[in-house]
Amino acid sequence: MKYDVVVVGSGPAGSVTARFAAENGAKVLMIERRQEIGTPVLCGEGVSRKIDDWDMLEGDRWIAGRMDGARIYSPDQTCVTLSADQAGNETGYVVYRDIFDRELARRAVKAGVTIMMNAQATGLLKEKGKIKGITVNHFDEELEVKADIVVGADGVESKIGYWGGIDTTLKPKDLETCAQYTLTGIDCKDAYCDFYLGRKIAPGGYIWVFPKGKDSANVGIGILASLSEAGMARKLLDDFIKKDLRFKNAEPVRFLAGAVPVAMPIETVRDNLILVGDAARHVDPITGGGLTHCLEAGKIAGEVIGKAVKTKNFSQDFLMEYETRWKETVGRKIKRNYMVKEILLGMEDKTFNMLADSLKEYNFEELSTLGLIKALVTKHPTLLMKLKPLLKVSKEERKDK
């Protein structure tokens, strides 16, 4: 089997990269180790409404609900509210990730992508040190797939980068370890997403409640892996649910474990090789959100791959256009938010309480982490000192706009 491109992994990053590579003239194979695209769902399923502008998803079958805003609860239960009305801008959706992922895959197929299921990449094919494709275990049969470019869209558990000589191993302080129930039989009073912070509640992370319609919600937890003990994520989540009266009559219809990289931007290209999505650690280190980044970076990757195939240049230098472009956009935000994450991790619960107290009446201009950071800096100029390295980054960002 010979293709221009083989994409490993059929999550959002894989499907979007595959689609845009195919639309730009490449012959693309996408492989997936699982037996169904999109399941099991390993996600909180919250996504910003800015995806509306990107022509990625058609129809609305992938939408479970629309968000009207967010509430953040500090350890002493002080509530900071970010409402869509107030900010006058868009919030987001809670989606059905299984349908979401299959919609993206459908668009890839429409563009001409071939898909192989039950197919696990087991290694890179190399000739004289050059990457020539991958080895695949397909229904227990060993196959060779030749391709000029291998795309590692193989998620947090990625091996493609490692095999290609990129150090993708995460330090425990750069991983959030997660658990989530989808609960039903609850009364979702409104369409707000709730976040709960605190060292005892979720060390180095948070608990979230994302409503999915009127009587169901994703209730999940992420804790920093360096502060975790065996089974701790699940245990803390169970404790939280038990104590919250909203969930008194709730029953689970789904339980999942998850892992989210919260790392600084890494290298993502080699000769004949590209990493994208969670495999490239394309996740916001504060929120743990990765979906929008997968779509943005996947589109760039697909476009650059298209050019590479046309000019038959698969060198690291040529593919570097992809890395430069994602680092200028998605990467800037990841770098900035990583620095904020480091600062937040150093704060005690009482500092969070104090900050929440000062923001409880605040009118946010922007319903985003950046909006929140801006408000903090406005309210607490002394924080400026600590946020100095971060502001340098946001200044660069402004210059570019």
Binding site: G155, V156, T168, L175, T177, C178, S228, A230, A257, G258
Partner: protein, 63 residues
């Protein structure tokens, strides 16, 4: 033989991939869509044990 190695309880593993992403010795891979530790590669650092959100990994014989 040497030190005890990490061991995944296949029945408990929910295939989140977290252990694979942090293992400093590339000792964990998917086998049958569950995490599996290669004893030859495992250096018994116990990182994977602590980060598993559902407590599916233990030190075989304890470490």
């Amino acid at each position: 033989m040497g030190k005890p190695k990490a061991k995944v309880d296949k029945k408990k593993c929910l295939a989140c991939g977290g252990c694979i992403s942090v293992c400093p010795h590339d000792a964990i891979s998917w086998i049958g869509n569950k995490a599996f530790v290669d004893d030859e590669k495992c250096i018994s650092c116990a990182i994977c044990i602590r980060i598993c959100p559902v407590g599916a990994i233990s030190g075989d014989g304890g470490f």
